[in-house]
Amino acid sequence: MLKNLIQKSRIKSPWLLHYDCSSCNGCDIEVLACLTPVYDIERFGIINVGNPKHADILLVTGTVNQRNKKVLVNLFDQMPHPKAVIAIGSCALSGGIFREAYNVVGGVDKVIPVDVYVPGCPAKPEAIIDGVVLGLEKLKTASLPARL
């Protein structure tokens, strides 16, 4: 019973942490646009918590560069399990158009495991919503802690 409830709640209440690696803002504003009335992802119980310790899903936009890769790892580490990482936009997927620039490490999966890739430049709000939904699968199947 409890187990079911928690699993159901996990997909009903994914809290986001958005981290902008070195995005051009294009993807950022599309993530933000998801929160606004027109897309209103709070319909799915999603809120942007802005704090890794409260987050279930890490949305990463932009390329990973030498300086922010440490930040990214830090944030990922501070998130409690279960957690999912969603990379948004071609920058976050592979480095995009910048992938050959000298300060660019590449896509997010170079530093932390990525669960969902949302292509686009920038990815559309609808695509981001689809991506989050895909990410929920992982949260649902993650095991429960040994003791509550």
């Binding site: 890794p52 930040v71 830090n74």
Partner: protein
């Protein structure tokens, strides 16, 4: 007979033991003397419980009338103070002590015709409560002082121990306090009053640093001012009633008479100085330079209580007068102002000092409010405050010896190094601000009592909120550390653990026993003068207006506490993560990688709102306010 023996043990034994401490300069022997005296005091005080109330008359001691002995001692004492006035070149002390000498002489040689044969000593429940506090809390503090002073002198690297002087004064002080609260003859009272002043002076100056001496002199002159007011008040009272028998004065109060009221007002003034109310707070703050056991004993749990004790005693005599209202407002004002000042402090001992002033203010407010409930609240506050404040001072002292600082910010995360002491300190803080513990019980009574007087309740509510603020902050600071390892109590001398344990357990048990204290000790003290304010049954205090379920709440709190501890144990298995630092934390705890790739420590250490609550902002205004209130109070009696 029994009462005789016990009373003289309580008053005289310390004088004897003090002498021993001074003469026998071996650490072992001194410790033994202190321990034995302490235990004897505790036993005697407890022994008095079934015997109260009683009256005793001082007869002769070694063939001399005790009254004359006291008179001689009085003069000696005043001359000693005068001497200190000269030595430290303090004009005020000189003038005030001379004034007192003259007045005492006038009173003794010209006014007093016959010395009363009876009623020198009177012990009712109120006095008994004070005796218990002095003997029990005082002795415990003296016990803890033994290891404390050893460390203290080691820290200071003294080549010659000065502990014999220290314990001389400490122990002597215990006797003086007992004598004071048991005196019914106001001249005796006055004598002991001055002894405590002197003890306080000596102890503040004990470390002999320039500041210590300066602060001690300040304490001396302020308290001498109180002494002078006292003796003037006594003269007035004698004029008015022809005797100095406290009980008789209370019973035959003539609040209509100006001289009478003015004299009482002067006694209140003396009480305010002794209790370091505004604008006399500075001596108590300065007194914090003294070794911490001194602060615990004199400057929080006992000596400063003399003032509130006196006013609570006199309360029935001023019932319904303007003076009473003034005392109430003055007390409430101090409560609020001192709480506000405490918020702006990061020096731990100063916070404790302001908090003491603040609580004393609340007791004054209760006394001035002069209803059965408020007086009950006042008495309960004396008890609980004495225990918990002593505990907190000892805790700070213990912590201070480890980290060599008294600053709250330096105590940040002290849990990591001294978990048990930190826990006891936090317990102390919790007992100061949380139900079902005694301080809050008393505050509840005080508030319900004050509810009918809207300016008082306004001030008191604001003050309480400020109180919560500085205590909660402190408790949190002590726990503030990324530490999460195993709980392993640190090493401390047995006497320290004993003292901390006894005080904290004592405070907790007394809180639980509050209804019993009420029925057994307070109700009898009230009956006669006041209607009984509460019904106590099944550990619940109740009257028509309110109910405080002490026992049930305590049970619930205990269960909650156990559950929370269980939660902590389970959380010990949780993953420990670094505090949130915007994602740039590094492995060194509390550090982040800042501009220029440098490591920077993230901290939040100067949040004391000094732009609002700082001493430099408030003190002048507060003193002004208090001065105006005092003038109003004195002037109002005319």
């Amino acid at each position: 007979m029994m009462t005789n023996t016990l009373t003289s043990t309580l008053v005289l034994l310390p004088f004897l033991a003090a002498g021993c401490c001074y003469v026998l300069r071996s650490n072992r022997v001194r410790s033994l003397v202190v321990l034995v005296t302490g235990f004897l005091l505790i036993i005697s005080a407890v022994g008095l419980i079934p015997l109260t109330p009683f009256t005793l008359s001082a007869g002769n001691l070694l063939g001399v009338r005790v009254h004359d002995l006291v008179m001689v001692a009085d003069f000696l004492l005043l001359f000693l103070i005068l001497y200190f006035g000269f030595k430290h070149r303090s004009l005020v002390v000189k003038i005030l002590s001379l004034l007192q000498i003259l007045l005492v002489a006038y009173l003794e040689f010209f006014l007093i015709k016959e010395v009363p044969a009876t009623g020198t000593i009177y012990c009712d429940s109120l006095a008994l409560i004070m005796v218990l506090i002095v003997s029990v809390v005082g002795s415990i503090i003296c016990f803890q002082a033994i290891p404390y002073m050893r460390n203290h002198e080691a820290h200071l690297r003294l080549d010659k121990s000065r502990q014999h002087r220290f314990f001389l004064v400490m122990i002597l002080f215990l006797g003086a306090m007992n004598g004071l609260v048991l005196s019914n003859d106001l001249l005796f009272f006055y004598f002991f009053f001055e002894v405590t002043t002197l003890c306080s002076f000596l102890l503040i100056a004990h470390d002999h640093t320039a500041t210590a001496i300066q602060n001690a002199v300040r304490a001396l002159w302020m308290n001498s001012l109180g002494g002078a007011a006292f003796i003037v008040g006594l003269t007035g009272l004698y004029y008015q009633s022809g005797h100095l028998d406290l009980q008789l004065i209370i019973i035959n109060a003539s609040p209509g008479a100006r001289v009478f009221l003015l004299s009482l007002a002067l006694l209140c003034l003396a009480a305010f100085t002794k209790s370091a109310q505004f604008p006399f707070q500075s001596w108590l703050l300065g007194a914090m330079v003294a070794p911490t056991p001194v602060s615990a004993l004199l400057h929080s749990s006992t000596m400063v209580k003399v003032g509130v004790y006196l006013v609570l005693r006199l309360a029935p005599a001023i019932h319904g007068t303007f003076l009473s209202q003034c005392v109430a407002i003055f007390g409430a004002f101090t409560f609020l102002a001192a709480a506000a000042l405490a918020v702006g402090q990061s020096n731990g001992k100063k916070v404790l000092a302001y908090s003491t002033i603040s609580n004393l203010g609340l007791i004054f407010a209760c006394a001035g409010l002069n209803t059965p409930q408020s007086v009950t609240a006042g008495i309960l506050l004396i008890v609980f405050h004495a225990f918990i404040k002593a505990l907190l001072f000892l805790c700070v002292g213990t912590i201070e010896q480890h980290i060599a600082s008294r600053d709250i910010e330096d105590m940040r995360g002290v849990y990591a190094t001294m978990p048990l002491t930190a826990l006891i300190t936090v317990m102390g803080v919790i007992m100061m601000i949380m139900p079902p513990f005694g301080v809050l019980l008393s505050k509840w009574m005080a508030m319900e009592a004050a509810a009918r007087s809207f300016y008082l309740i306004l001030i008191i509510t604001l003050g309480s909120a400020l109180t919560v603020m500085y205590w909660a902050r402190w408790a949190g600071t002590l726990m503030s550390d990324p530490f999460a390892g195993r709980f392993k109590p640190e090493r401390q001398p047995l006497l320290t653990w004993g003292a901390l344990g006894a005080l904290s357990a004592g405070a907790a048990v007394l809180s639980l026993a509050a209804p019993w204290i009420y029925t057994r000790m307070i109700a009898p003290a009230m009956s006669g003068t006041y209607l009984l304010p509460y019904r106590a049954s099944g550990g619940i205090l109740e009257n028509a207006a309110g109910v405080f379920a002490v026992l049930p709440l305590s049970v619930v709190a205990a269960v909650g506490f156990i559950l929370s501890i269980w939660a902590v144990k389970r959380a010990a298995g949780a993953r420990i993560v670094a505090p949130y630092l915007s994602g740039i934390q590094v492995t060194e705890p509390g550090m982040f990688k800042g501009p220029m790739n440098r490591l920077v420590k993230a901290e939040a250490k100067n949040y004391y709102l000094s732009s609002i609550f700082g001493e430099h902002k408030l003190t002048a205004w507060v003193n002004l306010g208090a001065g105006v209130l005092l003038i109003l109070m004195l002037g109002g009696t005319l």
